[in-house]
Every structure is written in structure tokens, then in C-alpha cells.
């Protein structure tokens, strides 16, 4: 729902004083957008609020039927319309990156049109990339700010836990497609090795066949030996799915995309950990359903009893859920303490995971499920 304080999408935004401007030779921001007129102003406004403000912002308008290009221009963004793109976001970004090849910048920030980055995002990412030449990308850590309703709040909790996991382990499983900054040389390196060492077509940065282009690019960068980080200051806020059906579509795409990517890469030193994660997820899902069936059977047979030991084990899970979501604030903690909503949510995600396996095994591509934004 649009807030009263938010300026109209087409209004010329005020120029904000930045500590410094980052010129085009250093950084180009690419914002792929497909019918994003409602969400785009928030994204571009967040770019203008950066402590290190990028001078070159390109909105990649892909098959837009709304006013996305008109919304972008008042913010000083250049608009690049894709031509004959049948490969969704990957194809749109490939076209935009190909256009950069004439005079490539040092770094490229790829930013979803429904994502808002924290004011220090660009400054922090640049500092990391400048200080480590082996660093291929700086990933954003996404959060679900402004959640409404139980489904969105459960997603926000999930994202808070994911962020906590990244900050605790220091390991970036996926360079998020929502907001990540890349060293141009790393992207060029990936493009040069597609078709032999990496899946895809030589010259493409993003593999056009990948359903989840961000996880595929992560595997490509890792395979080429580039390091990846996700600093806590590179926070971003992304869209949440408002209902279980939209969440299901999104997750079937994410899960089956990762399964497809792992099949394309096979078992390598880089992918071994990802394969192990998928195996654990599959066994965990099947075990959870077996437990539900056993409990249901015991309840129907009248043999179900509460046992202190297993209640204590349940207590361990409750503590873990609370501790890992603590940073999300009181509402996040209360939702977690209620237990049942998150159990239902996790079961719904497992349904999506099983559906993704079926989609993957049948070799089908899941629907994109573009969501018309409701909050500008």
C-alpha cells in the first residue's frame, strides 16, 4: 500500500547531498526491470541516498508494457530497452553487460527493481572490492522489511535467519540477485569460459538457460576461483510474497533452479557442499513428513503420549529459532515463540521443495510468477 509520505512515482526527486559521487569509470549500476513502475522509484531513491552515490545508473527495461522507462528518467537514470529478449532477466542483463564492453567500468552493481539498498551499501562494497583483488563479488544481505501478515512475517524471519547465518559463518552460498556488486573483470572471466569450463554460451555473463541466474553465476564465479563476501553493511530490503500461492511459485522456481544448476555443474570440489545441502534438505523433508504421519497414526490409534525427553528436544529447537531471529525485533520473536505459524510455513516450503524436485526431474521450467508490486 503506498504511504502518504512517498512522492508520486513520476515526480522529479530532490537531489540529495552525497559524501562523494562515484564516476562511471568506477561503477555502473544495472537495474533490470520488467513492468516495475510502482517499485522502481523506491529503488532509485535508495541509490540517490548512498554515501557514495553512483553517477551511472542504467535501467534495463525488458519487455515493459507500463511506464517503467518514464519513471526512471527523472531520477537521472539511462534507460536501455532490450531487443528480442526471450531469456528473461539473464538475457536482459547479458544485453546490458554487452553494451558496457566498449568502455567497461571497474565494477558493476546489479540491483533488482524492487530492492532498496542501505545508504552505505555502495561505499562498503567498493571498499571491499578495492582492498582485495581476488574478490569477485560483494553480495547484499537481503531482509524483508515492512512485512504485513503472517506469510510475509514468516519470510522476514527466514531472511533474518539467513542473514544471521551468513554473518556467523562468513560463507556466501549465493551472491544474491537482489543487490550485488561485481568486479567487471570477474564477469568477463566467466563470459570467456562459458561453453567449455562453465555451462552456457561463450560471451554470456549470465547463463540464459538458468532459471535462477544468481545461484548459477555464484557457481560460475566460485568455479573460476573468485572469492565472495557479504558484509553486514551491504543490507538491502526486498519484496515479500503476500500469499502462500505466490510464495509457492517463487520457491519452486528457486529450488528447481538450484537443482538444475547443480545438475549442469555436476559434482566438483565447488559444488560438493551444495549437493550435500540438497541431500540434507531432501532427507530432512522426507523425515518431517514421516514424523507427521507417525504422529497422526499414533493419535488415531490412541497411542500418542507426550514424553519429557522429546519435549526437551523440542525446547532446543524453540531456543534455536528464537536466538537466530532475535535481530528481527519483538514481532519476529513473538512469531517464532508461537511455533505453529513457522511450522506451517516450513511445511509449505517443503511442499514447494518436493514440487521443485518433480519439476526438475521432468525437465520442465517453472513459471516466473512476476508479482505486481503493491508498495512503492
Amino acid at each position: 500500500m503506498p504511504t502518504a509520505a512517498a512522492p508520486a512515482p513520476h515526480a522529479t526527486p530532490p537531489r540529495l547531498a552525497a559524501r562523494r559521487t562515484v564516476d562511471r569509470a568506477r561503477l555502473v549500476v544495472l537495474v533490470p526491470a520488467h513492468d516495475e513502475q510502482a517499485a522502481l522509484p523506491g529503488t532509485l531513491r535508495a541509490l540517490r541516498r548512498q554515501t557514495a552515490r553512483p553517477a551511472a545508473v542504467t535501467v534495463v527495461a525488458d519487455r515493459c508494457t507500463d511506464a517503467t522507462p518514464e519513471v526512471a528518467r527523472p531520477f537521472g537514470a539511462r534507460v536501455l530497452r532490450t531487443r528480442d529478449n526471450a531469456d528473461r532477466k539473464a538475457g536482459a542483463l547479458n544485453q546490458a553487460l554487452a553494451a558496457l564492453a566498449v568502455a567497461p567500468p571497474e565494477y558493476v552493481l546489479v540491483l533488482d527493481a524492487d530492492t532498496r539498498i542501505a545508504p552505505t551499501f555502495v561505499e562498503t562494497a567498493l571498499a571491499h572490492l578495492d582492498s582485495d583483488p581476488a574478490l569477485g563479488a560483494v553480495s547484499g544481505i537481503f531482509h524483508g522489511d515492512g512485512a504485513h501478515g503472517v506469510v510475509e512475517r514468516c519470510q522476514a524471519n527466514e531472511y533474518t535467519r539467513y542473514a544471521s547465518k551468513i554473518l556467523t559463518t562468513g560463507r556466501v552460498a549465493v551472491v544474491t540477485g537482489t543487490a550485488s556488486m561485481f568486479r567487471y573483470r570477474a564477469l568477463a572471466d566467466v563470459a570467456d569460459h562459458r561453453g567449455d569450463a562453465l555451462p552456457g554460451t561463450r560471451g554470456d555473463v549470465y547463463d540464459r538457460r538458468a532459471v535462477t541466474e544468481d545461484s548459477e553465476l555464484t557457481l560460475a564465479l566460485r568455479t573460476r576461483g573468485w572469492r565472495l563476501v557479504a558484509p553486514s553493511a551491504c543490507r538491502c530490503s526486498t519484496e515479500l510474497m503476500p500469499s502462500f500461492p505466490t510464495l509457492h511459485r517463487q520457491r519452486v522456481r528457486w529450488y528447481s533452479g538450484m537443482l538444475d544448476n547443480l545438475r549442469a555443474y555436476g559434482l566438483t570440489p565447488v559444488t560438493a557442499r551444495y549437493h550435500l545441502q540438497q541431500a540434507a534438505l531432501t532427507v530432512g523433508t522426507l523425515t518431517w513428513w514421516a514424523m507427521l504421519l507417525l504422529m497422526l497414526g499414533a493419535a488415531l490409534a490412541g497411542t500418542f503420549v507426550w514424553q519429557a525427553f522429546w519435549l526437551a528436544v523440542g525446547g532446543v529447537f524453540l531456543v534455536e529459532r528464537l536466538v537466530t531471529v532475535w535481530d528481527g525485533g519483538p514481532r519476529a520473536r513473538w512469531l517464532s515463540a508461537a511455533v505453529l505459524p513457522e511450522l506451517v510455513y516450513d511445511t509449505a516450503l517443503q511442499c514447494a521443495y518436493l514440487h521443485a524436485w518433480v519439476t526438475h526431474l521432468r525437465g520442465r521450467q517453472p513459471g516466473w510468477g512476476h508479482l505486481a508490486p503493491v508498495r512503492a
Binding site: T168, G284, T287, A290, L294, V313, V319, E320
Partner: protein, 54 residues
């Protein structure tokens, strides 16, 4: 063809049920162990972060 008696089917079902219950219990305990480890790591990170800011 093999034929299974009513008693055999009962034994098979009981065995299957016992195996499934055992598996679920073992997996749950393993995941609980991971949860304890995860809590310890998160708390350690928070303590370190707090110490760094003070």
C-alpha cells in the same frame, strides 16, 4: 510368487514402523545437535561484536 500371511504382514508393518520411528528419532536428535551448535556460534558472534563496540 511369494505369498504373505496375515501374521507376516503384521510383523512387516511393525518392523517398518519401528525402523521409521528409529530413523525419525535419530534424525531429530542429529538436527537438535546442529541447532545447539548453531546457537553457540550465533551467541559467540554477538558477544564478539559487543566486545568490539565497547
Amino acid at each position: 510368487m511369494y505369498q504373505i500371511t496375515g501374521q507376516g504382514a503384521g510383523v512387516l508393518a511393525t518392523t517398518g514402523l519401528a525402523l521409521a520411528t528409529g530413523w525419525v528419532a535419530a534424525w531429530t536428535l542429529a538436527v537438535a545437535g546442529v541447532a545447539v551448535w548453531s546457537v553457540a556460534r550465533v551467541l559467540r558472534r554477538r558477544v564478539a561484536a559487543r566486545a568490539a563496540t565497547h
